[in-house]
Structures are given as structure tokens and as C-alpha cells.
């Protein structure tokens, strides 16, 4: 990437921000002038968000939510990779378990929240388990496909060099499947966030999902919008962080293929 700024690029970026600011202004103007019962102005919503993110709710709701999200996401990803890579590597295994996996993948994670609460109680651990359940399938299926797609020549090279199965998985199959695994991790990130918010809406007494639902039910309109803004901001921050990590981890891959990564 060249350092010199192309005026056209600058114009494009400026236009994008201009439109964003204009929309926020429109929201502000419309909400203050129309005085709608269900729409609070942007300024009030942003103030409510700030209050939520910096007040006592930071330690009772915001941070616990993020903690559950990270724990569930991490567990889901580890399980997905740890189970998916060997399944993809042992090719003959796949037809036996594919239908079961497809079914489990098709279960909307929110639908199992009531059952999970029934089985495991209305605890943080239950919510983490459901987040992990929701997140693991995208990773698992991509890990299977990625590991199946590894060039057999690479694996044979490993065997010739007398690597054990564990070493082949760790040093050949996983790195080669990594681009596709990352595609799964990216999908799982969005799912984990959705399940986090949702799990806090059912049989819960804390968390961001709980906060926005209670605010809505008590008709605290700015607080509702503020909560949604905060959740959106958290989602945005994690997706930016993810892209950064992905670019660093997969830099060898893009470099080697000289351009667009292929699955």
C-alpha cells in the first residue's frame, strides 16, 4: 500500500463518514421534533449508553456479559477445531456423522436456551455452555472441510519425514486448514454475540441482554437504545479485532498465494 493519498480515495472515505454523520443528525432532528414515544434522540441514547458503560452497571452487567461471551466463544472454537480437524483428517469418518452434525447445526441455539436452563440451572455456566454450543458448529464444519481439503502431498511429505499423527495434525493439517477455519471462526463470532444477548433475555437477572429487555419493558426508551448502541459498539470492536488477528495470523497464506485467499 502506498503512503500517498489518492484524492479519489479521500473523497470516498469522506463521503462515507458524511453520510453516517448526516444519518445521525437526521435521527437527532427527527426524534426531537416529532417527540415520538418509541424513539429517543441520539444525544439521549448516547448519554444512556455512556451511563450504562461507566456507571455501576459496568461491573454488574457489561463486563460479565463480555466475559461470558469470550468464555463461550473460546470454548466453542476450541471444541470445533479439536473435533473438526480429526474428523476431516480421517476421511472415512465423515459420511457416518454428517447427518447428525447437519441436524445439530440446524438447531437454532436460542431454541435450546430454555432446555439448557432446565438441565443446568439459570447460571452463568449455562449461558456460557449455550454460547459455546451456538458457536462451535460453524467452526466444526469449516474445520472438517478445511482438513479434508489439505493437499495429500503435504501429508505424505510429513509421513515420509516420520511425523506422528499428532504432529501431522498440528504442524501440517491445522496450518493448511487455517484459512477455512478462520472463515468459521468469523461466522461463529457473530453467532456467539447473538446467543450471548439472547441467553441473557431468558431467565436472567443480569447482563446486557437483560438490561435492554428490562429497559424496554419499563418503557425506558433512551436506556433501551443506549443498550443496543453499546452492544453494537462491542460487536463492532470485536469484529475489528478479529480482522486484525486474522490478517496477522494468515499473512503467510495471502502472501503465498499472491492475493485473494481461497478456501
Amino acid at each position: 500500500m502506498s503512503r500517498r493519498l489518492d484524492p479519489r480515495t479521500v473523497a470516498y472515505v469522506a463521503l462515507g463518514w458524511l453520510v453516517a454523520v448526516a444519518l445521525l443528525g437526521l435521527w437527532q432532528l427527527y426524534a426531537t421534533s416529532a417527540e415520538l414515544l418509541y424513539l429517543s434522540p441520539f444525544s439521549d441514547s448516547a448519554a444512556a449508553m455512556w451511563e450504562l458503560a461507566t456507571g455501576p452497571t459496568l461491573t454488574t452487567d457489561v463486563l460479565p456479559s463480555i466475559g461470558r461471551f469470550l468464555a463461550g466463544y473460546a470454548i466453542g472454537c476450541v471444541v470445533g477445531i479439536a473435533v473438526g480437524v480429526p474428523i476431516g483428517y480421517i476421511r472415512s469418518l465423515e459420511p457416518w456423522i454428517r447427518p447428525v452434525l447437519e441436524f445439530l447445526r440446524s438447531l437454532p441455539a436460542p431454541a435450546i436456551v430454555p432446555i439448557a436452563v432446565l438441565l443446568l440451572g439459570a447460571s452463568s455456566g449455562t449461558r456460557i455452555a449455550v454460547i459455546a454450543f451456538g458457536a462451535c458448529w460453524a467452526v466444526l464444519l469449516n474445520a472438517i472441510d478445511g482438513a479434508r481439503g489439505v493437499d495429500p502431498l503435504l501429508i505424505d511429505t510429513g509421513r515420509v519425514n516420520r511425523l506422528g499423527t499428532a504432529a501431522i495434525l498440528r504442524r501440517i493439517v491445522i496450518p493448511a486448514a487455517l484459512p477455512q477455519i478462520f472463515a468459521g471462526l468469523r461466522i461463529a463470532l457473530g453467532i456467539a454475540l447473538i446467543v450471548m444477548v439472547f441467553s441473557e433475555m431468558i431467565a436472567s437477572t443480569s447482563g446486557l441482554g437483560f438490561q435492554i429487555l428490562t429497559s424496554q419493558r419499563r418503557f425506558l426508551v433512551p436506556e433501551t437504545y443506549g443498550g443496543v448502541l453499546l452492544i453494537g459498539l462491542i460487536g463492532w470492536a470485536f469484529s475489528v479485532l478479529f480482522l486484525y488477528v486474522e490478517r496477522r495470523v494468515l499473512s503467510w497464506h495471502v502472501g503465498r498465494l499472491g492475493g485473494a485467499p481461497r478456501g
Binding site: 470516498y12 472515505v13 463521503l15 462515507g16 463518514w17 453520510v19 453516517a20 418509541y38 459420511p95 457416518w96 454428517r98 447427518p99 447428525v100 447437519e102 441436524f103 445439530l104 447445526r105 438447531l107 437454532p108 441455539a109 436460542p110 431454541a111 430454555p114 432446555i115 432446565l118 438441565l119 458448529w137 460453524a138 464444519l141 472441510d145 479434508r148 481439503g149 477455512q180 472463515a183 461466522i187 457473530g190 454475540l193 447473538i194 444477548v197 433475555m201 431468558i202 446486557l208 441482554g209 435492554i212 429487555l213 429497559s215 424496554q216 426508551v221 433501551t224 443498550g227 443496543v228 452492544i231 453494537g232 460487536g235 463492532w236 469484529s239 485473494a260 485467499p261 481461497r262 478456501g263
Partner: protein
């Protein structure tokens, strides 16, 4: 959600019709089917084993036959109407999603200025987890179908939009030049060259959206009590009718699979030139 892989394969779209890369014989397909069925049976066996060993509180883990019995006994009077309600929200939501996502995606794909103007807004809106909008949607529309539609469209429009944009932007320049040499007008170029080449990518987006739409429809029903499978699950749970609760979850999963396979079949039917139609070469 295996879309990410499909998307990267899209640039090849626009080549001619190709035969499926892997053709299993009738025998091979039967063997594959039998293996899958054995896997399902093993999973059921594992479930019953967990029950028998008492690893989970047994009152909360009904046996597979009792779940199937519950489905049979309640199918006509409870499950079918719930499926109908959920499918209504799903299909209307998908219709609006595809219309908006495709038009916006193609417009953004065709014009650098439209792309630039919407980029920041889109990048900020997209990561908002859609269920977080349930309270907002309830504030705006109250409880009911319109609220569900708002949620579904907000969550599902992105995959369609991004895939449409990607599809348009990655149309083979040679095809465009050929069209120009043939003196096609701009409108004709879009309709007869860009659109057919971009449609397979759009359809990949539609398939990703379809499963998200189901999640949103069910979630909204669970939180707000709008009628459908989600409400059925929550109500059964509240009435301590564990079997019916599991039956609802099971049916939701089956519905998810059915929609996914249905759309895959439609993809193959409607877009025989698309990459996804060339058989599973995995």
C-alpha cells in the same frame, strides 16, 4: 453457513454448464445413506445411554420414543399451526430481505460512489447482533408480525447485500467487454450480463440468510410471545411439559435442515450455471 467457501469460488461463475464433479453411483449413494442412518442411530443410542446412566437429571431428559410420541400426538393441533406461523414470518421476511438486499447490493456493486457513501453506515450497522434489536422492534411496532419482519430483515439483509455486491464486482471483465462490443445498452448489460453472472453469489447469500431468518423468527417468538415455534417451546417449558419442549426444538431443527436443503435444490434448479450446482467436490 458454509457460505464463506462458496463465496471465494464465485469468480468462476459465468462459465458454461458443467457436469457435477463427483458422481456417486446408485450403490455409493446407498452406502453413504446407510452410514448416515447408522450415525443417527448411534446418536440416539448415546442419548439413551446418557439417560440410563443418569448423567443428567432424568426428569428433564425425555427418551427419544417419548419425544416422537409427543410429536405424533400434537402434530396437527399444536405443532403444525406453530410451524405455519413461524414459516409465515420467515418467508415474508426473506421476501423483503431478498428484494432490498439484492437491489442495494447490485447498486452498490455497480457504483463506486454508492459503495463509498454507504460503507461507514453498513460497517457500523452490520455487527449489531440482531437479537439485541428485539426490544427496539417491540418499542416501534409492538408485538406481532411486523416486529418480527423488522428483525428478520435487519439481520438477514447483510449476507444478501454483500454477496450481491461481491457478485457484481467480480463479474469477468471479458464478459462486460463482450457485451459492450455487442453494443448492449447499460440497462441491457446489467440485465443480461451482470445479473446472470452475479446471481449465484446472491443465492449463496440467500441461503446464509435463510438460516439466520429462522433463528430470528424463533428468538423473537420466544422473547415476545408472538405465536410460532418459539412461543410453543417457551410455553411448554413454563408448563413443565418437557417432552413438548424437546419436540418443539426437534421440529425447529428439522425445519432448519429442510429449508437449507430446499434452497440448495432450488439453487441447482434455478441457476444451473452456478458453482454450487457442480456437485459436492469436497
Amino acid at each position: 453457513m458454509e457460505g464463506a467457501r462458496d463465496v471465494t469460488a464465485v469468480p468462476a461463475a459465468g462459465r458454461g454448464r458443467t457436469a457435477p464433479a463427483v458422481r456417486l453411483g446408485r450403490n455409493g449413494r446407498a452406502v453413504r445413506w446407510a452410514k448416515g442412518a447408522a450415525g443417527v442411530l448411534a446418536a440416539v443410542g448415546l442419548w439413551e445411554l446418557v439417560r440410563a446412566l443418569g448423567l443428567l437429571p432424568s426428569g428433564y431428559v425425555p427418551s427419544v420414543p417419548s419425544i416422537l410420541d409427543t410429536i405424533g400426538a400434537n402434530f396437527g393441533d399444536m405443532l403444525l399451526p406453530a410451524i405455519g406461523d413461524t414459516l409465515q414470518a420467515w418467508s415474508l421476511g426473506m421476501l423483503i430481505t431478498v428484494a432490498i438486499g439484492m437491489l442495494a447490493g447490485i447498486a452498490i456493486g455497480l457504483s463506486h460512489w454508492a459503495d463509498a457513501a454507504t460503507r461507514v453506515v453498513v460497517e457500523f450497522l452490520r455487527p449489531i447482533p440482531s437479537v439485541a434489536l428485539i426490544p427496539v422492534a417491540v418499542l416501534i411496532f409492538g408485538i406481532g408480525l411486523r416486529m418480527q419482519l423488522l428483525l428478520i430483515v435487519f439481520a438477514c439483509v447483510w449476507p444478501v447485500l454483500f454477496n450481491a455486491r461481491y457478485g457484481v464486482q467480480s463479474v469477468d471483465p471479458l464478459l462486460l467487454d463482450t457485451g459492450r462490443v455487442a453494443r448492449l445498452s447499460r440497462v441491457a448489460l446489467v440485465r443480461r450480463v451482470v445479473l446472470p453472472a452475479a446471481l449465484p453469489a446472491v443465492f449463496t447469500g440467500v441461503r446464509i440468510s435463510a438460516s439466520i431468518a429462522l433463528v430470528l423468527a424463533v428468538s423473537a417468538e420466544m422473547v415476545t410471545g408472538s405465536p410460532g415455534l418459539g412461543k410453543l417451546i417457551v410455553d411448554a417449558d413454563a408448563a413443565a411439559n418437557v417432552e413438548l419442549s424437546y419436540a418443539g426444538v426437534f421440529i425447529t431443527g428439522v425445519l432448519g435442515i429442510a429449508l437449507n436443503y430446499g434452497l440448495q435444490a432450488a439453487d441447482r434448479r434455478l441457476l444451473p450455471w452456478s458453482v454450487a450446482s457442480r456437485g459436492d467436490a469436497r
